[in-house]
Symmetry: D3
Subunit: 245 residues, 6 copies
């Protein structure tokens, strides 16, 4: 039994609310327990300079936390005049993960920017961002596919992400902040609907971990991610059926 | 009749939802039509260097828009590495306006930071931020007053703000983005519960305006602000009665 | 009687010295008592990216103070690596005010940059900058109109600015620094030669103000501005007669 | 057989040259094939502000590439005025990995900064940096331990790192740049002398990977890291024997 | 005969106007032909961190050009967000040169900041800044010496600076911008009243120069500098007599 | 006799190792005693915007020190977010010096960037950088001349640089850090193979210097530079013979 009453392999309560923004081509509010992230997908009919003329599109992500998303107020990165290392690392991860399930040729010379803005943080903000951003991106791509009558749906598979870790000696799924602070091992896993790994990032800063622990964690992550993909499908409705087609 | 069916002296639909953040000492989501702003008040037991040792507190504000709060996505100021002039101007205005109704000596050597994050923008984001931030600040001050048993309630009067402008030749209240883009005169007014002016900022970039127009606009603003203060009182409940005591 | 011997509706001693810079298309040194500002107008045969291809020109302004323009030396913004909020707010105001009396189509695809550099500050630097910059701009436009034989003179009306405020309970015109520091209300007003308002920015940070105070202040501002426009005309000579033609 | 004649489980030629800097408390030049990194360890008798007064030390790392470390010259981050996301991610990784084998209490209130400067890059710069920085850090700690007669040697275990990946369908160890560019999966692994994982970062941007592939890669990494630790021991000599004591 | 009618060893018309700023402890406007620089000296009763506790003072300088000091408008360094290399080089030179004639122990733990703001530039702005800053600094030091009854006057010798160069094959003194642009050799010389060199910076970017040319240039510089020192003495009056005492 | 056993006119031990980088078009490691600098020359087939369309090439330089090149670790300029004044001054000097012996028309519309990265510093890093960069540049130009069959070899003369100074009353050549810290006069000299001056930068911050001292220093510099040019020739081999042809 965990402090909040969950079993080791329980996700937190996951709520995905679509269409929370009236301008964005795709948008959701995703809540994983007390972690709340607004994900919007913005489409532009151009690609960044380094991609020009290749007949391919681009997917990129930005991540930010509101100053009071956390227990103690954080200074805004805009006020400090630069992005922190953690922010850069996270937005690189989100972009890379989403690109792994997008056929950039099928997308055409367009950029989709996923903005993941954490309204409230209670652990797992990067994994929750990926899970939510996938839904916002799919909504935007679905609109694009209809408007431009794309012959191939540019999204090739489902994608979701969750954190796992070893807390008080036991592998657990979807850590909240209190658990995360006490975890001996902390691992973020991104997987596809097919069950393949896109990213595995495990850190044992407090204490190194064994191959056995790693396997147990990956198992937990896999089941959690399949559950998350179920929730994505429910929200996406008919768009979900086009994925991989 | 205006494009959205309002009469010239109608506010948009105003909804103030309290306690939207579990960490902040005070918080609201304020909606004015399609404009949505999260306002949080964060209390720190210290003042900025230039205020040290004076036995007084400080009120400051920060303002930001999510990148897709607008029709076309804006680049993040954190990514550009600096705050824009518009942002600085707005956050200076919010801070100045709120300080005008706070007794800084009664507050003691504390800082309250009001973060106004625009989730969706449809005109009037600065005035809506002031109106919402006043509620979040009062919640935080009420908590402080109880915890520290302050002898004097540090908030001296109500405060709210609204925009007015001349659109198609007619003075109107609480402009949305479409109206604002076509306004010949654009004025932001901040007033107290007592009906005195704290800020009047009128701009006739497209065309200068007359004294008569100005008077008509101020009249509209006054009635709109009294209505907004009514809504603030309803949300604040018992804390509202302590104001000015 | 005020500390420096002026009556409430007296301007300080205003001196406008033209042609203080041998390179700029228009330039003045404007002195309002001990406040001294060099205003230069620089013409470029191109417009900023966001204005391209519209057949219109652009007017923009930059404002700065020398480090020792003030009693206590200020750090240079160049050394700090960014413009402060006050600077941005002021230069946005100057640009906006000047644009209100320029016919941008008549100007053609050109940019005029007004640099207002405060050599010495004793209150009213932003209003003095506007009054001086109008003269420098008109000189530069006059040169342009002659060189390019413009069919319509691009400046449509006179423009000047002054500060007013309530000091020791009395509305006064053109505050110096000592008065400004003690003012309960501080208002900057920009008006045209026709007597219409372009900007009204009133702030009652120390104490809110009434409609009656506001009216008295606007009255004072109007008379001061008409006097300033008289001085502008005297300096501009024949160019003055082309305005609005 | 790989393009450079290595077998899948062959490391490149590894050369660690100690004492390449006459000022640093510890220093090596580490070469992995054509990848060359200078690692220096600098000791300061103070800790960063967030660590003050806890009786513990701190280990931090910085990473940089000379502009012409790569085939095409890169702009300096100092000239661009900010660290890139990749640099930040790498230096966070190096610091975190090294801290996992340091007893910060035993170190005392001191900071050791590991500078990893890539002189020439041919793949694997981050893993090579970790392997080299561990040696430089141990040299510096050994000096400290002797000078200050530390009762406990602050380094608790060996640490080295290597990259593995799937190239042309086959799992291979220690990828050079040409291999890395064509890898379907790219994984960086950090392990201790005891054989436990400290960091596992696997990315399948081009194509997701299976659990079987992951296991094969981790196996390769483990054998490579044990070989690297053998080389570290040879260089460290007597200091090596104090580790974990 | 030079283009402006001067002989090779003629300075331009030099005018030094004292007390041009009502706040600064020392100030001059120095004009060398069409080059015009405002130099102010600001005294602070503290030293920078790296000088603390040594019982010595510090002299530092900052240099800037107004945007339209030049034929073509320059972007402000504050707007670009950083100081250019040329600016840094010049302000380092000014500070170093002035410190060479100040007894920092006699000054006590105080900082004097010399601000050299170029109002109009026509060649020789850095040398003119040094010559003017020396006067402003001496005025400020004289005030300090009187207020604090310093036993030793902290300025040990006169100091002035001039440019020399080889233009159309002939060595000339005090180049204006047109000459400077065509000079084959460009040299800035700083000398003391005693006739010793403090700085010699000669550059032959267009063409290297011989020892003979160098000697001729230094000769010219020496006579020019003695003439400049004569002008400094005339302005400084009684303060001049305290130098070196 | 100097502290390290050298006579006043002795250079330190100079070692130039060519081809230390496998990617750069030209590269050396140059050592002057304990000062060690990697110089690489990178060729790009384009020129900076301000040089476009003139049929001429460009030579530019960048200079940096590794953080632990010095006794006490320095903060990285990339981490501080800006280049320091000293760095800018040095890289401007290196670029200017090298350009003085390059025929930019003969080079064609190409840029050569010289990166001088100080691996270890013991005085004279800027002069050593110039001497080494000349060799790297000549290697790169030689390659270019062969590949593109240039009709004229773009390098017109040799170029080297050395520091001289007055230490303990005596003029000495090629100061190490300990000598430099105690020098009363510090001078950096750049000369061509023909024996002409390209840069002379003498500073007497601690004490001004006489014409006699200056002449003695220039004499020393000249002999040192001729010796350095001898070493450059030995390394350059056949490329050396093309210079000035």
């Amino acid at each position: 039994m965990r402090a909040d009453g969950r079993k080791p392999d329980d996700l937190r309560n996951i709520v995905i609310t679509p269409h929370v923004n009236k301008y964005a081509e795709g948008s959701v509010l995703i809540e994983a327990g007390e972690t709340k992230v607004i994900c919007t997908a913005s489409v532009e009919e151009r690609v960044p300079p380094f991609m020009k003329g290749q007949g391919k599109g681009w997917i990129t992500a930005e991540y930010s936390m509101l100053p009071r998303a956390t227990q103690v107020r954080n200074q805004r990165e805009a006020a400090r005049g630069k992005l922190g290392g953690r922010t850069m690392e996270i937005q690189r991860l989100i972009g890379r993960a989403l690109r792994s399930v997008v056929n950039l040729e099928a997308l055409g010379e367009r950029t989709i920017t996923l903005d993941c803005d954490v309204i409230q943080a209670d652990g797992g903000t990067r994994t929750t961002s990926i899970t939510g951003a996938f839904v916002a991106m799919t909504m935007a791509v679905d609109k694009l596919a209809q408007q431009h009558n794309l012959s191939k749906f540019p999204i090739t598979d489902y994608l979701a992400s969750v954190s796992v870790g070893v807390v008080q000696g036991e592998p657990v799924l979807d850590l909240n902040y209190a658990e995360d602070s006490n975890a001996k091992v902390d691992m973020n896993v991104v997987m596809t609907g097919e069950g393949a790994f896109v990213e595995v990032q495990g850190t044992g800063e407090e204490a190194p971990f064994t191959k056995q622990e790693m396997e147990a964690l990956l198992q937990l992550a896999e089941s959690g991610i399949q559950e998350l993909i179920g929730k994505q499908k429910a929200i996406l409705g008919s768009a979900a059926e086009k994925i991989g087609k």
